[in-house]
Symmetry: C2
Subunit: 398 residues, 2 copies
């Protein structure tokens, strides 16, 4: 987690020892198994489990037993870095397993800032408060959703600002992914409003996040163009009420994309693929639709502002822009933490309240399988996590 | 010129006949030779000279004898479109020459909106007022700089809002290019201020526009990183006072680019190349410099906002983005007319006044050769105009 000078940390930083004012039951654990990822200077990825000692919670702190943490695409960058997944190997012992892989030398400079550092992993999760500072005793026993990194662990010391207290009876799996995807999907809609667009194109749209966006837009009366990668995914989205669903593998994709953009007047897109030509294809389609209403030729293109935000990197290859879309366009990175910083705090608060209220409906996530911390160190499971196939999603239950 | 519903025209539109209140000398010409470009539906570019009749100037109008008009890169797109310049042919007769070329079939859809239309060409120029509406008689005999299209012609009917009246004694060549390049260079600086950057990277920097930017930044105390394509261009820029000049053909270009960015703290760039990897290289260099001051690894990259505006298309090939620059970045098209619309009118007025005051110094342009309207129809000259080699610039004197 970064703590630079100019900006607040994007997530609350993992806690350090804060004093002796312990408030925990006598039989409470004082150490925690924690998943760590290291890339060594000689180009080896090492993922292992460390036994770390956990301090007693001080004032303003909660000690949470982590019960569920999703493997999000945004976790994989830190977990496996740019390692060659074909070289995955199980090493170490049965009690202290280690997963290794080679990092191609030409990719090492991109991760120079993390070399030889043992990094905790896991953006978000849910668990039960087992101890708390003197001011937070009423939260003991409550289940909370958390954001802040280092969630692939048995225990997490955390501040309540980084938590949502879940309703009584809520399961850990239900609360495990209430930050990254829900706030991102709601953030897209806020970005749309702030920048004056009226509809959104989303790709790939069948992810957990995409499904949330379908439900949000349906509830809020916003038109959404969903681009998926197979007929089955198209079926899935139509099943939850999506209207405009396009299969990018279909031969008439470009034509149907223009039709959907014309029908919705979408001029804004969010692309989690990043590499390849999808961003370019969307910009060209928006421009082609805008050009239909030009009264005469303009060599600078239409004056319709076309914007695509790249918020993921499912394809880490180069982005290829075939600039047939004039001069009135923008592309940018979109990062939840940057977006939240720019928003009115009242909007952010409303977003959090909506997530809590609709956790089992709008913001429900679905998982392919539940795995243990040690399972992540098995090459076949690591590979399955890394595949990032839409609809394949793992939940770690430490 | 476009006249769409939502926005004012980017340039004043060419005038149409406005009435019988003629105010012109008896021996004044009533028709004008005008250069026209047509792309036919079957894929042929035709450039020819039309004899068009010019109405008498009405109220609020000036009739100007065009004396000089530059061939800007921004004119070439309309003049030659996507024609294959290897197929240029001189046709027609001596008195009515025609230049033709083939447009490759796959590039025709990009210009579908102009097919079979005879388009006048020439964004800007200068000339002498030879007749005027009753309210503008005092301008007869004055030399003016003009913007508005259709400048590759003997006569231009125009409104005074689209003109700068030049000081007595100013030559036509001096006034021919006082809009596009000067306002673009000043616009870059205004964009820098509006978006909170403190220095600029510019490529390619040895153009007439680049030289203006060097002089503006020097006068205004703004740091500028100049990327050129040869040692001779580097020498030229150093000769007019540029400090950071990098040759992109040098083997240590990437290293020196990072050094210059570190020295200037530039986080904004303007790229007229468009195609290829220059935009990507600049973003990666800015990110590499920003990453130096990160206290710990952040897999989302630095939080330093990195922005590149593409304002030209010297390379019309795809833009290739190798996204090693995190998630806090933007790329966009930059168009003078969009930028002017967003600016405070008082700023635009100050820009125009500065251009008039510094026309022979900061905003002086240099030309390789002076050519006639008919010369443009000669294949060898058309080819030379299209080459867009920095430092090669033609001035048409109708």
């Amino acid at each position: 987690m970064r703590l630079d000078k100019d900006t607040p940390p994007r997530f609350p930083a993992p806690m350090t020892i804060t004093g002796r004012n312990a408030h925990r039951e006598d039989n409470m654990p004082h150490d925690s198994l924690e998943l760590r990822s290291t890339i060594t200077a000689d180009g080896t990825l090492r993922v292992n489990l460390d036994r770390v000692s956990v301090p007693d919670p001080g004032k303003g702190e909660l000690l949470v037993r982590v019960e569920a943490a999703p493997v999000n695409p945004s976790d994989l960058g830190l977990l496996f870095g740019p390692a060659d997944m074909a070289t995955l190997k199980a090493e170490g012992t049965k009690d202290a397993p280690v997963l290794t892989a080679s990092v191609p030398p030409h990719l090492l400079p991109a991760v120079s800032a993390r070399l030889d550092q043992s990094m905790p992993v896991g953006n978000e999760g849910a668990g039960t408060v087992i101890a708390a500072g003197p001011d937070l005793q009423d939260l003991i026993g409550r289940r909370v959703a958390m954001i802040g990194g280092a969630m692939y662990a048995e225990l997490r010391l955390i501040r309540p600002e980084a938590c949502i207290v879940l309703p009584e009876g809520a399961g850990a799996a239900e609360g495990a992914a209430l930050f990254v995807n829900p706030l991102t999907a709601l953030g897209f809609v806020e970005t749309m409003r702030a920048e004056g667009h009226k509809a959104i194109v989303h790709v790939p749209a069948a992810s957990n996040l995409g499904q949330m966006l379908v439900r949000i837009c349906k509830a809020d009366g916003i038109e959404l163009v969903n681009i998926v990668r197979s007929p089955a995914q198209a079926e899935l989205l139509r099943g939850i009420g999506a209207t405009h669903v396009l299969d990018s593998s279909a031969p008439d994709f470009r034509r149907t994309l223009e039709e959907a953009i014309a029908a919705t007047e979408a001029t804004l897109a969010f692309d989690a693929i990043g590499g390849g030509e999808m961003t370019s294809t969307i910009l060209n389609a928006i421009e082609a639709v805008a050009a239909r209403s030009l009264e005469s030729y303009d060599r600078y293109g239409s004056s319709t502002m076309k914007q695509v935000y790249v918020y993921g990197a499912l394809d880490t290859g180069p982005t290829i822009l075939k600039r047939g879309f004039g001069f009135t366009w923008g592309i940018g990175g979109w990062l939840l933490f940057n977006a939240l910083k720019r928003m009115d705090p009242a909007i952010v608060q409303r977003m959090r309240e909506r997530v809590a209220a609709e956790m089992t409906t709008t913001f429900a996530s679905h998982y392919t399988a539940t795995i243990s911390l040690a399972d992540v160190l098995k090459p076949e499971i690591a590979l399955a996590c890394q595949k990032k196939a839409t609809g394949e999603k793992y939940l770690i239950t430490p």
